[in-house]
Assembly symmetry: none
Amino acid sequence: MGNSSGAEGSGEQRAAVRRVTVVGAGLIGTSVALALRSRDVDVTLSDPDPASLRLACDLGAGRPLEESADPSSAPADVAVIAAPPAAIPSVLRASQDRGLAHVYTDVASVKASVLAEAERLGCDMATFVPGHPMGGREKQGPGAARADLFLGRSWALCPTGKADPQAIAAITEIARLCGADPLVLDAGVHDRAVALVSHAPHVASSAVAARLVSGDDAALTLAGQGVRDVTRVAGGDPAMWSEILTHNAAPVAEVLHEVAADLAATADALRALAAGGSAEEVLAPVADLLERGRSGHGRIPGKHGTVQRPDYTVIPVVIPDEPGSLGRLFAAAAEAGVNIEDVRIEHTPGLPLGVAQLYVLPAAVDTLARALSADGWSVHPGA
Amino acid sequence: MGNSSGAEGSGEQRAAVRRVTVVGAGLIGTSVALALRSRDVDVTLSDPDPASLRLACDLGAGRPLEESADPSSAPADVAVIAAPPAAIPSVLRASQDRGLAHVYTDVASVKASVLAEAERLGCDMATFVPGHPMGGREKQGPGAARADLFLGRSWALCPTGKADPQAIAAITEIARLCGADPLVLDAGVHDRAVALVSHAPHVASSAVAARLVSGDDAALTLAGQGVRDVTRVAGGDPAMWSEILTHNAAPVAEVLHEVAADLAATADALRALAAGGSAEEVLAPVADLLERGRSGHGRIPGKHGTVQRPDYTVIPVVIPDEPGSLGRLFAAAAEAGVNIEDVRIEHTPGLPLGVAQLYVLPAAVDTLARALSADGWSVHPGA
């Protein structure tokens, strides 16, 4: 129970975080819980939805918080409130009132409005250190959670001047235990930053995706990887994103206004060209935008931050589109002693065949390719 | 040399494509060449840049075309002109004049302007079948080429009424040999489609990325996967994209104008909120855009390629991280008579458990959940 793992015992002057309660077993809360469990932290979970809570616990994210526990039972070291922005201040206040933990943090992607409302509700700001881990997915719920969701990512901390240094140290340790890089910054600076690198890009993605509603089927059939990437985040939950944008309205509006102006200028230039204008005269704003776009793209830090994820190799295998084919494929892989780390299935409409993209560790590629080929599969390593 | 592989000898009535010349050893040309080589097609390559040509050949994409060959030497079955749009008509004309091949195609992402210029230059339109494989990367050059770049993608063919049926059959076979799904459509329809699903999204990506130029370092440090995806294509070559946009100006302008209008309306609504407006009154356009964005995103063909994809239900199943677990799971599904339409595996390195997200038809959910539960699996429908 009180045993610390090897990593915790390394002698750095770090806050001891041994018992954590995660309030909210959605994607982020469950991912935090999984990451902490992988570092031997004792984690209890709560969620108003029993199905989510059960799945999170079955995944090994922790055990259910005893909601009716003796109020004199020992508080956790940290409570992580993984609720939507609008709910955080009241959940925080209630958690502090019942003495759930010594220190509190949240994971919302907006900070200034959450802080202001928490102050208004009379929360104890000495023990609250707002946080924002920069990991997310377009999928929701505990089933999409991953212990490595924050690996190598930044984790913003936005303590007010009232926060205890010990509280800041504890939440810094939470970020580190999840494999993230803690970064302390002002809530207003944070909110303008995420408007630029997250919220406005999300809206732009939605605006591109919204055009597809009226596209004909042939157009959609021509969709390639580019538009899939540009519009991936547009698949996110509209209600959740409405709430986020509402809580960061002014900074997001500022960025969106500039994006809209650039696009309108580009549209005007292309129209002038189509109407017979000379390319030299009208296309300067187009070329300028493309150049600025490449420069801005180049400023994004390296793909996975500082921490390297394992580099999987992809092996395409042609599969018949019929019940049992994937089972036979995975059985053949298991017989070869190779673990499939991930799989993507590409299927072509009207064709009886698909492609399973098998993700394996590089050391396993040759073994698997040989075994599958010997078993009669159409294997394309290196393709 | 003339030996056809097993797949080619399957007896379907397909055009015989055994010798291909690829003119232009960039990303697309080299990828086509690699894909053809993997199907035992004899490929010769040419490129005005000797380094690109050498690299492509070293990668196994083919052997250099003998530029000074005896003009009476046998023409290739097909010449694939993988040059920028502005260069294609003149390269086509020169290639036809020297009798390089029996049939010609190109790979440019714009078609109407290329066709018009080819006609103007007096090219033989009976042997020219314009093409556009829907594969690409933000990287350029033969070093970024992949034999599987077109695997499972659409490959648009835009023959004019003058094209020989045999020529269309030969280019259809080129697409199939590259693992793509050939799709014949009108050049104007094609150009409007790619404006919607490729060219306008590219410009929008650039406009989002352009905002990052003026972001401070802290903001960039907070960049997560979302903005990376939205701006990935903005890393593409500005000169190449300027040329593409120039050749498809009117359709792209139309889409961009609408995207800009949606973004401006969203910015206005968020500003009104920040200025004290009530959320109920000002946020309708924001919620509407997010909803339309999700709808549009949902229209992009899934891994199964169908435009109107059936609504699959996702069943999360907890799986141990060990060889054979997926095989056992799929075997259990097959035994229940249920076809798994798609699968995603959520797995965290270092944790003993993962989640298989099984995509099945809604009618199969109960059957599968009961069968898997009875077989001892931790099944979580509805989570």
